[in-house]
Symmetry: C2
Subunit: 464 residues, 2 copies
Amino acid sequence: MRKQMTPQEFRQHGHAVIDWVARYMENVEKFPVTPTAVPGEIADSLPELAPEAGEDFAALLADLDRVVMPGITHWQSPNWFAYFPANVSGPSILAELVSAGLGQQGMLWSTSPAATEIEAKVLDWLVDLMDLPQDWKSGGPGGGVIQMSASDATHAALVVARHLRREQAAVEDMVVYVSDQAHSSIEKGCTVAAIGHCRKIKVDQYYAMDPVDLENSIKADKSKGLLPIAVVSAIGTTATTAVDPLESIADISARHSLWHHVDAAYAGTAMICPEFRRYQPDLERVDSYTFNPHKWMMVNFDCNVLWVGNRKPLIDTMSILPPYLRNKATESGAVLDYRDWHVPLGRRFRALKLWWVLRYYGASGLRAMVRDHVALAGEFANRINQDDRFELFAPHPFGLVCFGRVEGNEATRKLADDLNASGRVAVTPSRINDQWFIRVSVGQTHTRSEHIEKLWQLIEQLSI
Amino acid sequence: MRKQMTPQEFRQHGHAVIDWVARYMENVEKFPVTPTAVPGEIADSLPELAPEAGEDFAALLADLDRVVMPGITHWQSPNWFAYFPANVSGPSILAELVSAGLGQQGMLWSTSPAATEIEAKVLDWLVDLMDLPQDWKSGGPGGGVIQMSASDATHAALVVARHLRREQAAVEDMVVYVSDQAHSSIEKGCTVAAIGHCRKIKVDQYYAMDPVDLENSIKADKSKGLLPIAVVSAIGTTATTAVDPLESIADISARHSLWHHVDAAYAGTAMICPEFRRYQPDLERVDSYTFNPHKWMMVNFDCNVLWVGNRKPLIDTMSILPPYLRNKATESGAVLDYRDWHVPLGRRFRALKLWWVLRYYGASGLRAMVRDHVALAGEFANRINQDDRFELFAPHPFGLVCFGRVEGNEATRKLADDLNASGRVAVTPSRINDQWFIRVSVGQTHTRSEHIEKLWQLIEQLSI
């Protein structure tokens, strides 16, 4: 009889793991936010070969503390202000556990009706919660799908845009437009999709796309015989959360028959609060929209959502049906088969964690979280504003504050390095053109006023 | 104070969820293997809108039984013989829980040194366990990376192959070669990557690629001015687990400077046993190789591995480094940043479950599982062989047996439908050209001799 883990053993070990995770939650603030491990240190603590004989579960659990923890970057610390948040929550973590236990493979409706239908329904819920166009619901011409990351979703949108124009030009002559502040995933998506040109459009003083430069660039490209196929607007750029002017871009997009994709990877979550929706007007004229519940909605990575206003071109591009995937439900036309909505075939039951988070916190709980974070960011920005040593670098419409030392780049970079070296917080130094600044992203599940206070004290202390 | 889940509440709810999953493991055989839900049934049992107020955790847990279970296809049942396995295990499920709790975002070494270094080390372990070329280890010119699915890995390989030849031809004139039995992901990968042609090569009587037809097709394409760029060999095709002749294909690939990618998505796991390695000779001449621990290695989806013999072209194709991702570790050159190895930027700590499974079962435990499944498949094939009513459709080198009724297609399809309608097993009907057959894939974690016996009795009973 070969080694198994019986349900009874699973129960026993599972309780120990739950306790370990609960202790991690209790102690997460006690670790240095970024680990002290040097390159190779974790790898060197592992044996050169896999063990021949199986080990006790207790040994695995012990190595979490011995091997793993020294190499963990504490994204879940309330003192984590780096990058964008990737905030998790109890119900989401437990939903991942259930999803793993059920071991669903939801490539087709028939291979997991629950995974498919709960995904469609919960994404419909989000359409209402975020006041997105009703056409994007699963009962309409459009629809939503969970993908792994905004990079994957944007790449998929670009592939569809390219596919729709494949008779009109060689891919090398196709052009996609983004602002010079757009996320790197769009340029990467163009490269991966073999699209010839990813044109970077100028931004205004607030780092939002300049529609005049967009129009001029399109005309210039057309005059060169190139084929503009798509424009990607950002609601919340990565560097500063700038918001591109969607209405003007939609006008230009309509005039030149471009696919209009919106990247709201981080800021999309804010749209559950009506007061932020002024940043996303005119979505009826958008072809696709992506945001990441795994950033700021307390849902574990991975959980990206892509909506399309019309699902037919997406499915036409992505669908291939070999005999071994044929089945009656698919042939009835009465179901969605999400494998036709993205590159991968296999897919796990990711909707469960989104469903549980929406239900556990409720719409009101999620709105309260967003508003707490944005208010804390506002408080922090006020401190910066009121202190002569610092200056804000950009507007802060959501939970990200960008600032620097008035002395300039060297002092700003030194402050960022000192903050991170302290182990007490994590921030991200970044730059636009030649100017460096520090990104402070307020969005961790348990970040409260006291953490902002401590961050401010540390900044003051390091800026003398 | 907005709603939270405290560590103490997480502990309490977590124990309840562990018990729920343990009960599912105990009872999985009691459910009909495929659910009786009709399209729309699960969706209709959910409210039209997300709740405004948060709900109790107990309500979420109760709805697992009320809403979710009626729509679950029981991939984890020992009576699951459909598609390929997606077998999970206790240590893998618990590793997913830990990974979710740690909430790592391992896009860069510095954003999770543990996730990065454990991934590299564990994939190095697999190189030795599967007797792959030593050059594929992280210390060599190559390396391995966990991706979401074989579709993603194959797509990435095709993109690299295309990128390397971008100066030599338009993508529309590039050609990729596969057998007509290759997985649909390769044709889809070509479409997504804008590669002009995906040429289907004839197979021999055992459904393995015919190298003579490959050579002829390449020559014919070259004479038309097209540019052959890659060939994909299958070790274990999807329909019948046929094995393409790697040595001949490597010869042809070398002669025509093709990228040689190997798709061992399902059968790769078998290579931990020396007796199966005769199916993968000559790997030193392969450029990339992919297999899915999430199919047959008791590791939860998603966990695909892609190895490349030389990582430079992969990284050259996929790497874009904006200012906000710059960091000292990356600039030192001493670390791997896995974001440069695939399309998505974000990545979770998936190596943990692979590490835990390898350690808990040990190499000997995993080999015992593979050998058990292959022996059970052999027993089942013997029954088929010894009964005049049935015939084997193809060789069964691994755990998949393909068979049909001697009366022909109609009887075969009826048997497959009757088996699935019984709710006692799940099998996959498929066809090659005009001939239908039934795929019986033996590979679930807890499938034992008694389950094969019951399957056989059911087949006999339905074939009178």
